[in-house]
Structure formats: C-alpha cells, structure tokens
Symmetry: C2
Subunit: 432 residues, 2 copies
C-alpha cells in the first residue's frame, strides 16, 4: 500500500486521463482535458480558478444560465418528495404540470407527449412513431427521408437519419434505409421539390426528419424557410409523417419558442431535449398530434408503442423542465433574448464586411461566422481558434473554419461584448 503524499497530489485532469473515455474524442491526438470546477450564470471556472464565458451555453442546454436558483429550488423540493417512479402504469404531478405547460407553448397541433431520456432517444421515438403509424394501418412504408448534413443523434436509428460521416464508417452497413434530400437554399427550391416528387414516386417513404431552419451540428447552417414549407406540404399531401427535430432549436433559440413557429404548416412530431431540462439533468420528449396518437390507440395491444426507458418521466427532470419553461416565458428572459438578437445583428453586420469572413448567418441568438480560409491553409486552424478563445477566457467550439455563438439568455451585455471582441482580435491574430 502506498502512503499518501500531498506533494504528489494529482490534478482532476490527470486523474481523469487514467479512467475516462470521453465522447467524440480521439484521446491520442486530443490535447489534455480541462477540469471545470464550478459554473454560475454564463461563467465557467476551471480547477485553477481561471474563468471562461460559456459562449455556447454548454451545448445549448444551460440557456437560463448555470445553477439558476429557480431551477435548483424546484429540483431540490422534488428530490425530497418523489425521486423516481415507474412511468408505465403510474404517473406523477411534475410530469402532468410539465405536459400542461409545454403544450401551451408548442405548436398548436401538438397533443400528446412521449417522455424519454435524451436527444437521440427523442429522435428514435419519432422514427418509430412514423414507421409504426403506417405499419398499424397495414401499409408497408420502410424508408425515411432526411436532409443532407443533418444531425439527429448517435444511437443506431438516430445515426442512420443523420448525414453520413467518416466517423460512422464502422456502422453504415447497419443503418436503417434513408434517402437524403439537399437543403432548399432559395435558389434551388424548385429543383429540390422536383427531386422530392421523384423520390416519392420511387420509394415508400414513411417519414421526413429535419432540423427546422437551422442545422446545428453542421455548424449552424440555415436554409430556406419557404423551401422547407413546400417540402412539408408535399410530404403531408403524401401521408409522409413530418418530424421536426427541435432538440437544438427549441426553447427560444431562434427568437421564437420553436423554429417550427416560423412556418404556417406544423409538423406531426417534434423532438425535444437539451434546453428542455434547463441544463440540469438529461431528458427528452417526443410530442405528436392526436392523429399520430390515435393510430396507436387500439384494442390490439401490439398496436401500442412498446418503447420505454427506465427513468422515463424522471420527476427531477420534469421539475427542472417546469422551472425552465417558467423562466423562458418570463418577461425578463424574453427581453434578454431580444437584447441578444439586437446585439448579434449589429455584430453580424460588422463581420459581414470583414475581409476574412465569407458568410455570416444569424437566427435568434444563434450567430455563425464562416471564415474565408482556403482548405490548404486550414491545418490546425480549428484547434488554434479554440485555444485562442480559451486563453482569452471565452468558451466557443469552432467547427472547421466556422465560429458560432449561442450564448445563455442570462449573459450580461459586457460578457457578450467580450465574446465579440475576442472573435475580432482572433481575426487579426489567428486567422490567416
């Protein structure tokens, strides 16, 4: 047995290395990990006391800021009363209150909520609803339709409808059958619709899954609202179930409660997660219309949706989500969202004229800046950008040559200004 030597005490980061395999990480080429010790509002603090502004709200979850007292109090009370209960055969008040509050802000045609645990499962449930909707009516529709470059999660079903990636090479032979449509970008809307008409003729398409208006993991790629509207109209005309994946876009990020609110036609199914549970604990929800629900409501037991996760409807997650919706719909947060949108607009205009910028996209509090760097000059640009931001106390995760911001709604104006300033100085100091 070794004696404890305080002078050899290891950092959290060093202890991490010995035991933990991190997600989406090639540990051999990745630099050392940074241990975060605490978080409050928009500020993260590492184990050495250095502070960082959380410019992406910890993957778009902590939209009301970290460790918000309203969320903490709701979860604390819940934890003392009812921590967990089987959600098959039982229900509980936090789930019911959450359902009532959520359906008030979801697009009007949404009628029923199916609880699950994260974004991937929200997608899997959406896909299963679409496939079984047709199956229950004796119709054989086996193909899913998705947009190119989309991302919907990492479980096998969710991976299948996501855009193909070199990182999924080992699994492609196991994907469910999916056909992919180019994004409508305005100028090509007509061609996309023509292509879709052909695809509908040649395939038995069960459902269409898409991230409405903006594709998150593709680096905040926006696309044509009118084009999407036309795709959905054509799908609906052909009884193709439309699944809006609002895991990233949901809960105010696009400037409206849901990106689907920008359209006049509403999806059959909506997938929710991330900001849903206010950055506190994992949770997913798949909502749907009465028409979808009714197709599973039958005397034959097997027509039900036999999907379930053990912690489904977890009361603590429901409590956090209730607090989140109360915050989202508060005047304070709504005013904050508008303030961020206006600040973003001004910064976006400035960046559009920058000689090293090729495109700027903004929708709501989401702002993406494409750098006009040629591929051969890329090298380790992404890592140099990331390191520069972190050195300067800003947490952003550039994707290739794209820098994006998605700040928590509670970010202070001076913190947001600091993010802008660090991006501007990186243009001079890092971008070739």
């Amino acid at each position: 047995m070794k004696l404890y030597n305080p002078f050899q005490r290891k950092s959290i980061a060093q202890r991490d290395e010995k035991h933990i395999w991190h997600p989406l990480t090639q540990h051999k080429t990745n630099g050392p990990l940074l241990a975060i010790k605490k978080a409050k509002g928009a500020i993260l603090t590492d184990e050495n006391g250095k502070e960082y502004i959380d410019g992406i709200a910890s993957w778009y979850t902590s939209m009301y800021g970290h460790c918000h007292p309203v969320v903490i109090n709701k979860v604390k009370q819940q934890m003392k009363t009812l921590d967990q209960i089987v959600f098959s055969g039982f229900t509980h008040e936090p789930a019911v209150i959450l359902a009532e509050k959520l359906l008030k802000i979801l697009p009007q045609n949404q009628d029923k909520l199916f609880f699950n645990d994260n974004g991937s499962t929200a997608t899997e449930v959406g896909i299963k609803m679409a496939l079984q909707f047709h199956h229950n009516q004796g119709e054989k529709r086996k193909v899913m339709l998705a947009l190119k470059e989309g991302f919907h999660g990492d479980t096998f079903g969710a991976m299948s409808v996501s855009g193909l990636s070199v990182y999924n090479g080992a699994f492609e032979d196991h994907f469910i059958e999916v056909i992919r449509l180019p994004k409508p970008l305005g100028h090509n809307n007509h061609e996309v619709i023509q292509q879709l008409q052909q695809l509908i003729k040649n395939h038995s398409i069960a459902g269409f899954i898409y991230e409405p208006l903006v594709q998150g993991a593709a680096a905040m790629k926006t696309y044509s609202k009118d084009g999407l509207q036309k795709i959905i109209e054509l799908c609906k005309k052909n009884k193709i179930i439309c699944i809006a994946d609002e895991v990233m876009t949901g809960f105010g990020k696009t400037g409206k409660n849901f990106a689907s609110d920008y359209l006049t036609i509403q999806p059959d199914i909506i997938c929710l997660s991330k900001a849903l549970s206010a950055g506190m604990v994992p949770m997913g929800i798949t909502s749907c219309t009465a028409e979808i629900y009714d197709a599973f409501y039958a005397d034959e037991i097997e027509k039900g949706l036999f999907h379930g996760h053990t912690y489904t409807g977890n009361p603590l997650a429901c409590a956090a989500a209730i607090a989140g919706i109360e915050l989202l719909t508060s005047n304070e947060i709504q005013k904050n969202i508008q303030a961020i949108v206006m600040a973003h607009q001004q910064f976006a205009n400035e960046m559009r004229n920058h000689p090293k910028v090729s495109e700027v996209r903004q929708i709501g509090v989401i702002l993406a800046i494409d750098l006009s760097v040629q591929m051969q000059r890329y090298g380790d640009l992404r890592d140099r950008l990331f390191n520069y931001f972190m050195k300067n106390g800003v947490f952003l995760r550039p994707l290739g040559n794209i820098i994006y911001i998605l700040p928590p709604y509670v970010i202070k104006m001076e913190e947001l200004e600091k993010i802008y300033a660090v991006i501007k100085s990186c243009m001079e100091e890092v971008v070739p």
Copy 2:
C-alpha cells in the same frame, strides 16, 4: 374562458390522461393510471394517500430506497456548484471520483469508462465498441450474437440484439444483423456450445451480448453459469468481444456487486445503468478493458469513438452515483442484502412446495415464482394479480404467470414479510 371551479378540480391521473402517452402502454386496453405523490424508503404513496411497498425498487433503480438523504445531499451540493458541462474537451471532479470508485468494484479487467444516459445507450455504445474494434483493425465482422429472450433496450441497435417480440413487428426490417443462441440451462450446455462452434464457422461475429446469469425482462430467467462461462471462453478464443449487460443485474442484486463476479472469466465490456445513479436521475456507463480502448487510440482521428450525448457525464448524475456506491459498499447495506437473501431462501423453499407453483428461481435479492397455470386458464390473470397486489398495498409487476420480487436493500423485514404474505394469499384468492 372557463372560470375555475374548485369542485370540479381534476385528479392528477385525469389530467395525465389528456396529455401524456406512457411507455410500453396500450392506452385503450390499459386501466387508468395511478398518480404517485411521494416516495420514501420502500414506500410509495398515491395521490389519495394510500401506501404501497415498492417490491421491485421502481424497476430496480431505487435500491437504496427512495429519497435517501445521503443521495439527496450529494446531489444538492453538486447542483449549487456545477450543474452541467460539455464532456468533450472538459472533465469535472464528480466524474473522476465516480470513475475511481466504480473501477474499484467492477471486475478487475475493466479499465476505462464511457459515460452515456441510460440502459439503451449503454448497450448501443457496447455494440458500437465491438463493431468498431474489428473495423479499426481492418477486419469485417458485421454480425452480433445474442441470447434468445434477452432484453437490452429500445433504441434500434438495442432492439436488434433483444429477443424478437410481437411488439417490435414494425421495426424488424431495420434491425442490425443478429444471430441468437439458446440459453445454456445445464442439460443442454453441450448442444449450445456445439451450435456456437457452427455459428462461428459460418458467420463473422463481432460481439456477443448477454445478461449474465439472469435475464430480467424475460421474467428473471436464470441459466447455467458453467454454460455461460464456456460460451465466453469460446468467444474470447475467436476474438468475439463479450459484452455483459449488467443494467439490471449490477450493483449487488445478485448477491455480488456484479453478476459477472460469479464467473472466473471476465467480459470485455460491461453496460451499466438503473441502480448506477441510485434511482435519482438517468445515467448509463459502458466500461471496457484497456485492450478495447487501445484499439480506438490512434493517430487517425476517425479511429476514435464518435459517439456522444449532450448531457453525458452530467455532474448531478455522477454525484448520485457516488452516493450510491458509498451506500452499496457500506456495512449496513451489505448486511441488508444478506438478510434479504436469507429471507428469500426461506420463502422460496416454502413456495417450491406449493401445488400452484411450477418453479422458483432465486439469485441474490431477485426471486421469481412461476405459477403452474395452463395457458387456456390465463385470461386476464396477469392483471388480476397486479390489481390484487395493489389493492393490498404491494407494488409488484407480474409478467404473464410469473411473479417476481426485487426489493430495495433498505426494505424493512416487516415490509418484506408483508410482500410474502400477500403473494401467499393471492395463491388462494386469485390463482386458479
């Protein structure tokens, strides 16, 4: 707008019906749901104040009892400090402490932990590790091997390796390729091994997934330890990655920390969830050996495992899991486990001689009783059993004609005796 009338105030159960689609539930044939208002230790209380003994620890999650103060305090402290942080590029102390504590009790060959969100994702990660392990070495192995009647989750990958069910008819065309081996039951061990030798000759098997010693969702079906040991030995000899799904069996339920501890040969990968996070919030972990991890550790980025969920490594879930392991390894809980095992043994012996019982299976705190009811006399027996138990203040979920108990470790002896008594009286009053 309707005026609020306190005399028409609806119950939680009635409000639930309007908005929530429950898992694994055919709402048309299912009776009304029961709203649970609070839970403490082994006791659930519904919205009318009636109490029930939680005879299955809320699907084997709340093994240390509901709303345990040690778990609550750990989560409460964590919630104030750090609620959530991106687990790609960052780490945090609760994840590191959990990893250190968990690896101390896992089978010795386990070396690295990959965090995720629930049992299904723990399985999906295990399958992806097995497939990509071979892919990274340039070997094309595309088939998974599983035991008949197994259950591993409800996402597409997890569904595929689970036993085929009438409830999955809509999805079978989308399953990954899986071959199924009968369970070794002692008398057929030799045939099972011969069959496996043939399968290995005819297929390129990447991995073998199994619930060690007892299949949970199949109604606590136990099988031959020696048979499983031989299957694993043969798999390892043929470089088939062995994945122990300990989502149900883990954390003391079989009388040892993990069911795999009963074998002298250890799995390459272990899937964990349920009791992992002490019945507080969702969490999954997939652990593996250094050999598995090393096959992904490379200069080529794409050899990494590009799987990740947003809330992966959630600090609150880690805090709950740390509390859980501290409780599990405490003298008090270990003594409780032994007391339950002994009480079960006595009750099992009594039941074995009952004329209406065909088989009794016990391992650790898991006890299953098969009723010798002929199929034609089944009818709604399962529902009548369930209703009888609930009427008498005991929450058990019989599966067909099988009654099983899996009580929380903190159950009081008089509560356990009451469960036994209600089962005995149901034999007279309900079982034909």
